[in-house]
Amino acid sequence: MNDSEISLFEEFVVFHGKQNREKLQHVLSWIQTIGDKYGAQNHLFRSEAFISDTAALPPNGKDRKPCFNESGEAKANNLRLYCLRANEHVVFLFNGDVKTANKAQKCPNVKEHFLLANQLTKVIDEAFKEGEIQWNDDLTLLIYSNDLKLYL
């Protein structure tokens, strides 16, 4: 992103590794297990579409989600990671934060990440349409130029 040396997702991991360690582990373990065993099946992702097909991890809800205990009480995991599920093999991971309002647009924490993820999803989708990003033969990897830059 811009001239940053680390990706949005790396920023997410570094920041929440300090701020929300246990919530982060639920999200990362979930992604790892999906990647290793099940693939990014559509039903595992919740739509966060605003202007594009952005999704979020983990799906929302009360009394569930990466269900963990805080002070002995079950809490929902309100840490959101915005992403673009391209197919069962490829998922673009962006950034996110702890969601504190029902609607992402109204949450001061996630609003910026939510809107950026939607914008990124839109330009990535356009890059696919223009052929700047292509699939390999078995649709498991992406092919693109190393100097490819996308502009919002």
Binding site: L28, S29, Q41, L44, P59, G61
Partner: protein
Amino acid sequence: MEFPQQNIINSWLEENGDPAVTKLVEKNLAIANKIHELLEKRGLKAVDLARMLDKKASEISKWLTGTHTFTTKTIAKIEVALGDDIIHVEPQIKFVRVKIWANDEQEEMQFQASEIFTKGTDFPKAS
């Protein structure tokens, strides 16, 4: 693009992960996946299971994301509704090796699914 051999997710979890949380996430996803498979096998959708369990379809959809921590009570209700087990905790014995003496000759045999015990036998006893 080449598939990365090392990635930030695996690295972070190796360094910081709690094995119990990892196991919980794996179990939740496995249960959700099994329910998803059973629904597909029967040609059912989340809304059908919702009707069977008197739940909202949105709640069933969220179960299927693999992030819900199920109680055994809920699992039992789903198992009854779908007519199949989601989790197995009983010992799973598939093969039993036994030695049989018939006409003074020893034979070693393997019986699948313990059928020798479930169906009974008429083997002559060694004298």
